[in-house]
Symmetry: C2
Subunit: 415 residues, 2 copies
């Protein structure tokens, strides 16, 4: 007998039929003798419907009232799923985040879980109940309803699994696992049997939107075995495991996956004075405007006193960032020239294997050169190399790198 926490996202519970299908799936696990806690999101479209309603009334509602509003979405799903389970003969009880005791801080719309009271859950499970918990939501010390931010249901699932010491947290989505890259771009992409938490974090933050990044962090921190599976077809999915020891890394493939995004824009300040504090003088006003910066590269000019400073932001923030640089930063720096480009793409290789292997970068650059792809910016971390290229060459780059690093389906089959 195992204890599973199973999380189903909005698409998986997007209709009455889907909710019934989830109930059947949960019932199969319970019939095998397992204990099951189910975490669900709002039915797909429901959260947006509520946000739209709010928008028609107040363009700046207090975050507390937004949480009060959107938290109804999951509350509808938990009761419907409990009813669907009851219909199949499975005793089930639903709980809101507040009822189950998911205590958070008071940062409405982006609250963080502080602790979970699991006594009631354990009692219900011992009685043979399936427990259905509203994802994405909690309650602060004053009893206000909070939400964890979009995608927070994954975090609820992992946090519950950690608190209950569950055998596995299963995240059911509309894909059947984590892929080496997006199959829509590269037809030879393949599902990974396992991936490390660290790699998953890099892939998630780079745009493979399978799992919420906080949920993966949480799983890593509390050693929760995390599995991504499809709601719609049976299969083993991808198991996300704790980072492996270096000894194992010889058997690791060099690269686990290739992430990419065309949703960034690049800004460069040329010939700025190379004095201490210049970076913060550039990025300070950007941060003040709550614009998130992704890649940052600074080259010291050969001549000495001048430097080129380049960074990327989300495409949606591009115009505002340009304006801030023009109006607030350039006058302050006294010198320098501003350039921007929002027709770029970022392509990243991710893999713990590259830690112990030299030559990943050079093979990457050579592969891109062979395809006549010009590299505009490079940034590296221990298990990741990212390059910025022209947006129109993105898919070509992904496919070439996928082949060059031995990730293509046929390569594996022929091994």
């Amino acid at each position: 007998m195992a204890l599973y926490v199973q999380k189903f996202g909005g698409t998986s519970v997007g209709s009455v039929e889907r909710i019934k299908a989830v109930a059947e799936k949960v019932k199969r696990f319970r019939d095998e003798g397992h204990q099951v806690v189910v975490v669900v999101s709002a039915m797909s479209g429901e959260t947006n419907r509520l946000i739209e309603l709010a928008g028609q009334i107040n363009d700046e509602p207090t975050p507390r009232e937004m949480d009060m509003l959107v938290s109804t979405g999951e509350q509808v799903t938990i009761s419907l799923l409990a009813m669907a389970l009851q219909k199949t003969g499975v005793p089930a009880t639903s709980y809101t985040g507040a009822q189950v005791g998911i205590r958070t801080d008071s940062a409405h719309t982006k609250a963080r879980i502080q602790r979970i009271e699991t006594d009631d859950l354990r009692e219900d499970l011992a009685e043979g109940q399936v427990v259905v918990v509203a994802g994405f939501q909690g309650v602060d010390e004053e009893g206000n309803i909070t939400t964890l931010g979009r995608g927070g249901s994954d975090t609820t699932g992992v946090a519950l699994a950690a608190a209950l010491k569950a055998d596995e947290c299963q995240i059911y989505t509309d894909v059947d696992g984590v892929y080496t890259t997006d199959p829509r771009v590269c037809s030879k992409a393949q599902r990974l049997e396992t991936i490390t938490v660290e790699e998953m974090l890099e892939l998630a933050s780079l745009g493979s939107k399978v799992l919420q990044i906080r949920a993966v962090e949480f799983a890593g921190k509390y050693n929760v075995p995390l599995r991504v599976l499809s709601s719609f077809e049976d299969g083993p999915g991808t198991l996300i495991i704790a980072d492996q020891d270096d000894e194992d890394s010889m058997e690791e493939p060099l690269i686990s996956g290739i992430a990419f995004t065309a949703n960034e824009a690049k800004l460069t300040l040329l010939n700025t004075p190379d004095v201490p504090g210049v970076a913060s003088r550039i990025l300070g006003p950007i941060a003040d405007a709550n614009i998130e910066v992704d890649m940052i590269v600074q080259n010291v000019a050969p001549a000495g006193d001048y430097t080129d400073f380049t960074f990327t932001v989300a495409k949606g923030d591009y115009k505002q960032t340009m304006r801030i640089l023009k109006e607030q930063v350039l006058p302050d720096l006294g010198e320098g020239e501003l350039r921007g480009d929002d027709n770029i793409a970022k392509v990243s290789l991710v893999g713990v294997g590259m830690r112990s292997h030299a030559g990943v970068a050079s093979r990457m650059f050579r592969t891109l050169a062979e395809e006549n792809i010009n590299i505009r910016m490079v940034s590296t971390s221990e298990i990741k190399i990212s390059v910025v290229i022209d947006e129109k060459q993105m898919e070509l780059a992904v496919r070439a790198l996928h082949r060059a690093f031995g990730l293509d389906k046929e390569d594996v089959e022929s091994e």
Copy 2:
């Protein structure tokens, strides 16, 4: 400065525009220096939508899960109204039934309020906040969400007014007050300035669906001044006052209003043995089937040993009641003959004034006789006389009685 509890029903908050209009109305009271607690129902149609969703999944869901589901309806409204108030510059905070501490028993879908914790509300009011509370819902001792049954938002409003010792509980509806009878049937019906709790109870139970009967009982019990007003137009509405002393009754009009319904059916058992317990042997199986009986009349037959027993039930229960009588009651009684009629109407005169006036009944019967309306059944209480007549004569009877008892608009104006 007064403290008002204002309750707005589903139609009054049925759209974004209506919610904004409610916010404007509440703001006007607050701008005059009053403290306001607002109680709201789910947006009209929302509760039915949720019940329909549930019906597609499970035709017999547990009442606990039904409450979990439908309570989201009011939660949506409270947050939207709080946002609308904030938009007009009025600080507002919303609370679910559980958050405000509306403690109920655990009778899901028809729970009763046991107590209300008002500390948080008072604090918010003292800070100048408008407090928006979800009607219709509460929480039991174990933290389960409960609902008070359809129309329970009125009860929430009155209970909050009682707990807060509010100066007035204002129930905003789609009518501008309580009328002497239904204006759609009698064009000369007029709005009452005041009505006693007792009269209101008789009118409500007889089919004038302005207020939930439990709310009126509650108001009477706790001496809460209750006012019915229109959400859509300004006006004084009708004030529902505690029952007046007998000394005042000389100034009372004889009759306050005329209620009527065509939604009942009549069943008669003729020539049943007149032995002790016969009534319970007839009504026992009806009660066991959860069918509510309204009027009951028993005539002792002149000959002695036999009696005629007549009662009414809701029209929708007519066929089932007939079947129960045929299959379970008649064989048990040994003798008797069953008759039924579902083409009847009940017309009732209500007024505390009739307590001290003889002759109301005779004037009623004379009026009906003059219109050639045959009376099929009579039942009286201290402040009410009801007659059962043919359904097709109902409107004629209402108009004739309205005129005969001096309720017509012109009569009042000529006084």
